[in-house]
Amino acid sequence: MLWTDKYRPQTLDEVVGNNKEKEIIQNWVRNWKNGNPQQPLLLVGPPGIGKTTLALVIAKEFSESIELNASDKRSQDIIKSTIGESSSSKSLFGDEYKLIIMDEVDGIHGTNDRGGVKAIGEIIKNSKHPMILIANDFYSKRITSIKTKCTVIKMAKVRSPSIRKALKEIAQKEEIKANPKALDLIAKKSNGDMRSAINTLQALSDTDEVLEPADVENLRTKDDRSDIFNAITGVLKSKNPQHVREALRVDEDPTLVMEYIAENIPREYANKNEIKKAYENIAKADLYFGRAQRSRNYGYWKYASDFMGIGVSSSKKQTYKKFTKIQTPTIFTLMGRNRGKRNLRDGIAEKMSVKMHISHAIAISMFPYLEIMFKNDELAWEISDFLELEDTEIKRFRKKVIPKKVIKKMEAKKAQMRVEERDRRFEELQNQMMNAPEEIAIEEEPAEEPLPFEIPGLDDEKEITEEEPQQIKEKEPEEEPQKVKEKEVEEKPEKEKAKKKTDKQVSLFSF
């Protein structure tokens, strides 16, 4: 059993430090219990200082509690099924409140979807139950709108004497012999993170021997990982390779960390040559990430990490004595804001790829030519008709709608062409019948097949038997893709539903 769970404080008094904050919380609980609804609490502070513990302690004061982890995708369903209804319906008896605990509301999962903030905002607005939200980063953009709707409680790091005291108590209970200096060192190294300190103690004290400071020296705990902002600051502000390496030990996708560093290089470095050098290192890091991805040889990551860390940090002559706010890469917001446009683009590309046997990339590379072609009304209609583009998709290539007159004319022309084609085919068939009657069977057989690919709208004009052979001749290369497409159309509503669902799931917590 993890000692962090075993020795988790069970009452408010046992929670170490943050006395003022505890008082506010106590009042908050008391008010709720007196039937006096309060704003949700937002506990903010670095990891391992007891935010979740506090929430769990408070939960005991209420008859029931629900704990949701923001990084957990299933949470969305749980919210819907449990809180969604029950949160707004108040029970008749005042003390039957459910405490809703939402952990990691600033969790960096998924991309930048604003739906998530909105969803939490709505729950806050409608909730008749006490809520506690927990976040690490007070300045996270993800919680700006939430902050205003909550009573914010900023919790500080735990002071190292308090940590040392707690460690000593645990050591006694576990009957571990430890040099007090070793405990002191763990406490200091933990940098105010109680959880990491206790984990370290547990990791080190598996043996019968006395715990000495030297043992602590050698250990690099996993829990001293900093968050992404500290990592970026470390790289940009430091010139010490050791320090930079340590700063980069974050539990994040390394390519995301690279994007953050790249984003902030020109904001921190002022000298042109420094920017050049630093960005060259980013480019090299990226190259090795790409090679790792392609070859599945993740050994390349260590080079990438050194390029983007030590490489970037040593690109400056000296450290800048200024404050730079670390910014989220604008590429993410750009992609988020333009999701609609990109969906439109990809939708057209998909249609083209099915009809024209090309990949999305090649389809998109043809867009500039299509823009020119679409200036011609008739050609615009022809291509739209061929690709079965919707009006919104046509708008991607031309601002003006295709004039009604042109549409009418082209539709008439198309119908005319079909009639001519039919007559020609009919004549051909007749000739064949006269010349080689035994071939008819072969000619007619495929007529069974194309039925499913029939273009809608054709059959109400003509008899199927005559239409069929012509269809094959005319559309031969496209028949198969069309079939595929129709299949997709059938599947689409479901797919879209499924997609929407996942989108929402992600979005709720990934703002």
Binding site: P266, S353, M366, I372, L379, E382, I383, F386
Partner: protein, 315 residues
């Protein structure tokens, strides 16, 4: 009435295919024998890999080709699992009215090594009922086990004269006037890419006048991403953040590919040096950076990051 000319004038039979004569002769033998090994078509864009595959499939599978043919784009977003599922479902069924079934996989070089290994297993599993045609730009990016299971055909860029001839044929069929200078200009810009040539031709023709050197130039310059010059100006005056924003917008919104961006940047700076607006020394430094960037993108780096780094070389 059939929309884009690239599709309308796609050759339907092997003998209609422009260029690649040796390859076609070879493939026609397979048609005669009614059997074929797994094939790999490699070569740059627009040289007829897909066209050849489609034409071959039609003549080798005969009138039931549609039922026995599966076309998949390996590089598009769909995961390898989807690709494998579809291959599996397709191969499980016996060929109907044809000697075997054919799966055409496009842009295999954009698949990861893992995905390629998975594909290799699929290829082994269904050798009795199905043949594969793989197409890629660079065969060097295909794992050896796959290469060794395929007969490899290298498609060369189409010769200028052959492109010109095809363009002339299209002009005649569509009733358009085109002067030789105009067609020559298209051929020059197409660089052996028939798809590009036909797209430029149709775009030029859509303006309703005869195809001349000027009208072709106009289309080519209009079809370029417009902001490249602006972006370079910003970078040259030291506004790196501004330049980077334009780069990101162009790539995200217009979806311009990394390779296109590189070649646009190249032609922009090369124009500047020949107009005397850029020092030769500086130009050569830039060329080294551009070439490096180009190479790295093809090696699998993230094009946007590489281009951002390239932009710093301008400041």
């Amino acid at each position: 009435m059939t929309g884009p000319w690239v599709e309308k004038y796609r050759p339907q039979t092997l003998e209609d295919i422009v260029g690649q004569k040796q390859i076609i002769t070879r493939l026609e033998k397979y048609v005669g024998e009614k059997s074929m090994p797994n094939l790999m078509f490699t070569g740059p864009a627009g040289v007829g890999k897909t066209t050849t595959a489609l034409a071959l499939v039609k003549s080798i599978l005969g009138e039931y080709w549609r039922q026995n043919f599966l076309e998949l784009n390996a590089s598009d977003a769909r995961g390898i699992d989807t690709v494998r599922d579809r291959i599996k479902n397709f191969c499980r069924l016996k060929p109907v009215g044809a000697p075997f079934r054919i799966i055409f996989l496009d842009e295999v070089d954009n698949m990861t090594k893992d995905a390629q290994h998975a594909l290799r297993r699929e290829m082994e599993m269904y050798t009795k009922t199905a043949s594969f045609i793989l197409s890629c730009n660079y065969s060097s990016k295909i794992i050896d086990p796959i290469q060794s299971r395929c007969a490899i055909f290298r498609f060369a860029p189409i010769k200028g004269e052959e492109i010109a001839q095809r363009l002339r044929y299209i002009c005649e069929s569509e009733g358009f006037e085109a002067d030789d200078k105009g067609l020559e200009t298209i051929v020059y810009f197409a660089e052996g890419d028939m798809r590009k040539a036909v797209n430029v031709l149709q775009a030029a023709a859509s303006e309703g006048e005869a195809i001349t050197e000027e009208s072709v130039y106009e289309v080519v310059s209009k079809a370029k991403p417009q902001d490249i010059g602006n972006m370079i100006n910003k970078a040259l005056t030291g506004d790196f953040l501004g330049a980077r924003t334009i780069l990101r917008e162009t790539m995200v919104l217009q979806g311009t590919s990394g390779e296109d961006m590189v070649s646009q940047i190249y032609s922009e700076v090369s124009k500047r040096v020949s107009e005397g607006k850029m020092e030769a020394d500086f130009y050569i430094d830039l060329i080294e950076a551009i070439a490096d960037c180009d190479f790295r993108i093809r090696e699998g780096a993230n094009p946007r990051i590489q281009l951002e780094a390239l932009l710093t070389k301008f400041i």
